[in-house]
Structure formats: C-alpha cells, structure tokens
C-alpha cells in the first residue's frame, strides 16, 4: 500500500505550533497567576481556544486551496528523544484528518468556554477551571496534531490529566475525587496497550512516526501487525470508554457539565476513534484486529444504549449515549477503508449534537439547582424555551431524524455495517432503535408536561452567555449533516486511504428505510411508557426485573471490576504488605535478634571461673590437635 508522503510545512505552517502553544500558555498563566487573575481569567481562558480556532480556520483554508496530494503538511519542530537508532522528533502533521479535529476541538471548545463563563460564574475557583480547560485544549490539539505516536501519546496522557483534574474539580466531594482517579487509572490500563504498541513500533521500525509506521507495517508479519492493532485498540478502549474499559465514563459525570460536554462527549473520548483511523495501515495489515474493533464497537454501542435506557440521571443517560455513539464510530472504523470517513463524519456531528445536549443538560441543571435526577424534572419546555429548542435539535440529530446531522452520519454507518457483516448491521440497527427510545424518554421526562420539581426550585432560562453557544450548537446539529455529507468523505478519503462512498443528500435505501422504522418504533415505545399522560414516579421504582437492575448497575461493569481486580488487588496488597513486614523485614530484624540472642547465650560460657577457662583452653588444645590430625588425614 502506498502511503501519502507529507510535504514540509513552510511559511505560515511553520507557526502551526501556536495552535497548541496559545492555549498552553494561557493555561500556564491562569494556573500560576494566583488570585490576581480572578477578575479576567475566564476571558483570557476563552480567548485562547478562539485564537486557536481562528488559526485553525486559516490553515484549513490554506489546505482547501491546495492540491489533494499536498494537503498533508508536516511541520517538524525539534528533536525530542534521540538514542541509538531512535530519532523521535516533536513535529506536527496537519492533514485532512487532523484539521477536521482542530476545527472541532477549537470550535466546539470555544463555545463551551463561552458557556462556562456563565455556568461557572459562581464558582470561586473559576479561573482554575479555565486553566484546566485550556490545558485540555492544548493537550487535545497536541494529540491530533502530532506527527508520531509518541508525541500523540503525550497529548493522549495530557488530555487524561486534564480530564482527571476536571472530573475531580469539586475535589471536596469524595465521589468526584474517586471518579477522577478511576478515570485516570482505567485510562492507564488502556495506555498500557498504547505504550506497548509504541514500544513494538520502535522495536520494529525504530520510529514511531505515522509515515514510517504506515510505510513499514506492510513488511511486518501479520500476527505482529494484529498484535499492534489490538494493543492500539486497548488504548482506544480506555480513552473512548469502550467495553471492557467503559466503566469510568459514567462516573466521570461528577465533573462540571461543560467538562462532560467538551471532554466526555465531543472531543477526548473520541480520541480512540481518531487513533484507529489514524492507524488505518496497521489495521489493514492485521485484519483480525479490525474485526476486534468491530466487535468492541458493536458491543459498546448496545452496552451504552442499554445503560442509557435505565438511568434517571440526565447526565448519565447522555454518558451512556456517548458510549453508544462512539461504539458506532468504532464500528465504522473497524469496517475498514469504507468506514473511516463515516466514523469521522459521525464523530464530528456527534461532537455537535452531544455537546449541544450536554450543555443543554447543564442549562437544565442550572435551572434546577444542580439536580440531575430527571424524575424531578418535567414541564421544562415552557420554562426553558431556548434550552428546549436547542436540545430538541440535538435530540432529532441523534435519533437520526431525516436531514438532521445524525441522519446522515449514523445511517451511513449502519449501512456500511450491513455491508460488512449482517450481525454488526443488525446490532447497529437495534442500537438505533434503543437510542431513539432512551432519548425520547429523556426528552419526555425532562420537557414534557407534568412538574415534578422539588420545593424551592424556580427554573429560569440561562443567561445569554450560556444560551448563545446552545443556539450555535443546535444549529450545527441541524445543518451539520447537510453541510458535511459528501464533502467530508471526499476530503478525508485520501488521508486515511479510505474508500467511503459519497452519497447524495437525498439517498434512501432499504436499510435506511428499515432504520427509520426501527427508530420510530423506539420512539413509540418510549411514548408508551413515558408519554405526557403517564405518571412518572418521583423516586426510582423498585424492580425485580434482572434486566432493569442490570442496567441501573451499569451492566455490572463496576461489580465485575471490583470482583476481578479491586478486591483481589486489595487482598494482594495487604498480603504483600504483611509479607514485606514479616518476611523480608523479619529476616533482616530476625538476623539481628538471633545474633544478639546467641550473644547473650554465649556470654554465659564466660562464667568467671578460672578452672572453666582452663577447661576451655584444654578443650581448645584438643580441638587444635584434632584439626591438625584431620588436616593430615584429609
């Protein structure tokens, strides 16, 4: 397979590092300045991603104007780790794929920053919040702009750190601190795979740059290439909360809602998809790994959807939905060249509508005094009109309502999945129905008539600074698909060696029709249970249904981790601590005790009697004789 050779970036492109440096510098200022920056910190923090966005647009425009062959621009910055045959540099690669991400991250990111000005207005640590957000943006940009896997890994861990800091932003809440730690640790399990994958690349190619790896992977034996693919998949699972490393994402909703929107919906969690698409050559060389990707994606899309159905916490429903949607993307990415562009397409539209809905959820929470339980909502459509309308746009987008963003991106994936395997296709199809069900449920419980508000709650529409981003994102949810469909596959295909077919805007197929029906069925079921005329209990009703209980307990993901890893781990830790004290240290101290015990015993021989001393001497003389004789005999 011939690969694209990036052209060297000159002129404007040699300044591409500013994309990352601006938010990074802003983060540094915000975190170091101290209280002096409290008054203007959030403005600076918002300005930084906007600047990056503008830069991104400039680069995008430049790339648009180029020949297709010259759209991959390589900007080497400096030598990072040079040792032996390795020569790992820090460099950026701006190509069709990364520029899409840059725009998504900085665009959606800027909106969320703006939104946060309002959302975090009353938090005394708002400046620090913006610092962390900027840090995230910088790291995320590094992740998508890196020209090699190791630098990508730096960004990869950087976003993990930012995610950790932001999930645990309200650190005094033990649940937040635990969730943050959990997110980081589970991600590290994924990083294990990622790290070993990079090591394998270095062992195989003495390089971790995309160009070298893509060029060399064809010469690798298939088992090795498959291994490499699986290791990368493990990394992707961690970051993108795919089964089996999904458990952290639901807990991560402890973080402030803009964080959930930006990091745990729109951008960071999709990094796994980016990784798989970026590593297309590896998965091509190791087809079994691609199948694993499909399996993971399919399982997760159902897994997430299932969870989404059974949660009352609005953010957790959205989180389950996020898992599910990323499952779709993974599925698409796993299908191979025909799916890469669709995966990214869905990733982008998902970025719009999911960010939109999360921010909407934030707006709702804002109105409801930070209550997240949908059973306490209801009848908010009237109280929060803008939120409702924008949320509805997101809703229609995600269920794949015709001409909304998700309609294009998701249906493509379902179709492609059917082409690849009817099992995956069917699952994807079912997933679409379930998605429609739980999203409708969410809409109904939140906005449909029937107040279930707690006392003292007086919902009111959020201020302009929060609603404007909602509106923009809502608009994107509506038109994103229309605008991007077609263009994005053309744009991306060369970069990812993709073979995705460009479909027209109005393109109905049998599968599309069936999908439509399934979605409608999901909506209908939802209305059946949660329709406006239904009474929704104020507290979660007890149930004996194992299926419902399983869903409420996240399909036992945590229980599994606890039984298989945590409890044995704790037991092993305790045992090892005891072992260290009793055996390892015990031997050291025991030796001392034995010697001094021996000493006190031996002292008794020195009993003070001359005659016994003489006996010792004589016995000694006898021993001397014996040794000499033995020496002779031996």
């Amino acid at each position: 397979m011939e690969s694209v050779t990036p052209v060297l970036g000159t002129g404007l492109f040699s300044l591409a590092w500013l994309l990352i440096a601006v938010p990074a510098a802003s983060a540094a200022v915000l975190l170091l300045i101290g209280r002096a920056g409290d008054r203007w910190g959030h403005f600076l923090g918002t300005l930084a991603p906007v600047v990056s966005f503008v830069l991104g647009v400039v680069y995008f425009a430049d790339l648009l104007g180029r020949d297709e062959a010259e759209r991959a621009v390589h900007v080497p910055l400096y030598d990072w780790i040079s040792s032996g045959t390795w020569n790992i540099g820090v460099g950026l690669q701006l190509d069709q794929l990364s520029i899409v991400f840059v725009l998504l991250i900085t665009g959606v990111g800027s909106l969320i920053h703006v939104y946060s000005i309002g959302y975090m207005a009353h938090d005394p640590r708002r400046r620090r919040f913006f610092g962390f957000l900027n840090l995230f943006v910088a790291a995320m940009l590094l992740l998508v702009l890196a020209d090699n896997y190791l630098v990508l890994f730096v960004g990869w861990e950087g976003v993990g750190l930012a995610s950790y800091l932001l999930i645990g932003f309200w650190q005094e809440r033990p649940s937040a601190a635990t969730a943050a730690k959990k997110a980081f640790v589970v991600n590290r399990v994924g990083d294990l795979g990622m790290s070993i994958a990079i090591m394998l690349m270095l062992a195989a190619f003495s390089s971790s740059s995309f160009t070298d790896v893509n060029a060399g992977v064809g010469q690798l034996s298939t088992p090795l290439a498959t291994t490499l693919g699986l290791l990368l998949l493990l990394g992707a699972c961690g970051k993108s909360a795919q089964v089996p490393l999904q458990s952290w994402l639901l807990d991560a909703m402890e973080g402030p809602t803009p964080v959930s929107a930006l990091i745990h919906a729109a951008t960071m969690v999709t990094a796994g998809v980016y990784l798989i698409v970026r590593s297309h050559a590896i998965f091509t060389a190791g087809p079994a790994a691609s199948i694993a990707v499909v399996v993971v994606g399919t399982v997760t899309l159902l897994f997430g959807a299932y969870i989404g159905c059974s949660k009352d916490d609005i953010k957790k429903v959205l989180a389950g939905s996020t898992m599910s949607q990323i499952g779709y993307m993974m599925l698409a990415a796993g299908i191979g060249p025909v799916g890469y562009a669709f995966a990214i397409f869905h990733l982008v539209t998902h970025g719009f509508f999911k960010a939109n809905m999360f921010l909407g959820a934030g707006s709702v929470m804002h109105a409801m005094d930070d209550d997240v339980d949908m059973r306490h909502y209801g009848a908010l459509a009237r109280a929060l009109p803008i939120t409702f309308v924008t949320f509805a746009a997101g809703y229609l987008a995600i269920i794949g309502f015709p001409f909304f963003a998700g309609f294009y991106s998701k249906d493509h994936i379902i179709e492609a999945a059917f082409h690849a395997s009817w099992v995956a296709g069917t699952c994807a199809l079912i997933g679409a129905g379930v998605t429609a069900f739980y999203m409708t449920r969410l809409m109904l419980m939140t906005f449909a008539p029937g107040k279930r508000w707690r006392e003292g709650v007086h919902p009111h529409e959020s201020p302009l600074v929060m609603t404007v981003p909602l509106i923009v994102l809502g608009a994107a949810s509506v038109v994103g698909g229309l605008l991007l469909n077609g263009w994005i596959t053309e744009w991306l295909n060369p970069a990812v060696q993709g073979e995705a077919e460009t479909e027209g805007l109005i393109h109905f197929t049998l599968i599309g029709g069936v999908t439509m029906l399934v979605v409608l069925a999901g909506i209908a079921v939802s209305f059946l249970f949660f329709g406006p005329q239904k009474v929704i209990p104020d507290v979660q009703p007890a149930t004996r249904s194992p299926f419902v209980r399983a869903g409420r307990r996240d399909l036992y993901g945590d229980a599994f981790n606890e039984a298989v890893f945590m409890r044995p781990g704790i037991r092993m830790t305790n045992d090892l601590v005891r072992f260290d004290g009793a055996v390892v240290d015990g031997i050291a101290n025991g030796t001392g005790t034995v010697i001094s015990g021996f000493s006190s015993r031996l002292r008794r021989v020195q009993n003070g009697f001359v005659r016994s001393y003489a006996l010792t001497m004589t016995a000694g003389a006898a021993v001397v004789g014996a040794i000499i004789l033995l020496g002779r005999l031996g």
Binding site: R603, R604, Q606, N607, G608, F609, V610, R611, A614, L615, T618
Partner: protein
C-alpha cells in the same frame, strides 16, 4: 629407652593439666603448672640425651630459673588475694564474668 621418658613426661604434663582444672586451691593449681613445666624439663632432657646434644639440658636450667621467678610473682599475687578474701580458692574470685 628415651621414649619412655618422653611418655612419662607426657603423663606428668597431663596430670598437671588435669590437676589444674580440678583443684580449687590456688596454690595447688599453681603447683600443677609447675608440674607441667617439670614435665617439659624432663622431655627437654630426654630429647637432649637422645639427640646427643647438650642444649636441651641447658634449656632445662633456663626453665627452672623462669619457674622460680614465676613462683615469686605467683605467690605474691595469691597471698594478696588470700589476705583480702581469706580464701585461697580460685572459685571464690568470680566477680569478673560474662
């Protein structure tokens, strides 16, 4: 013939050693040491005879002189202790131990 003297001297030496270890009186213990010295003297003289040289016999004189000097010092010490403790038993002097 000489060998018998050697054997005798060995026996005397052994008696002296055993005596030293078994007798409690300091004077007797000391006399046992003298016995051992004399056993050595006997051996020296016997070997001298066997080798046909005189140096062994001369050595015996040296030993006798030294033994005499030792007696002087030894008795002085023993007597002092006896005066202090009113006892010549070597087992009684047992303050220094362990």
């Amino acid at each position: 013939m000489t060998d018998h003297y050697i054997v005798l001297s060995a026996i005397l030496f052994a008696i002296g050693t055993i005596g030293f270890m078994t007798r409690r009186n300091a004077i007797v213990a000391f006399m046992c040491v003298e016995l051992m010295l004399n056993a050595s003297n006997l051996a020296l003289v016997a070997f001298s005879h066997k080798n046909g040289a005189l140096d062994g016999q001369i050595a015996a004189f040296f030993v006798m002189v030294v033994a005499a000097a030792e007696v002087v010092v030894g008795l002085a010490i023993i007597v002092t202790i006896f005066r202090t403790r009113r006892s010549a038993s070597i087992d009684d002097a047992n303050l220094l131990k362990f």
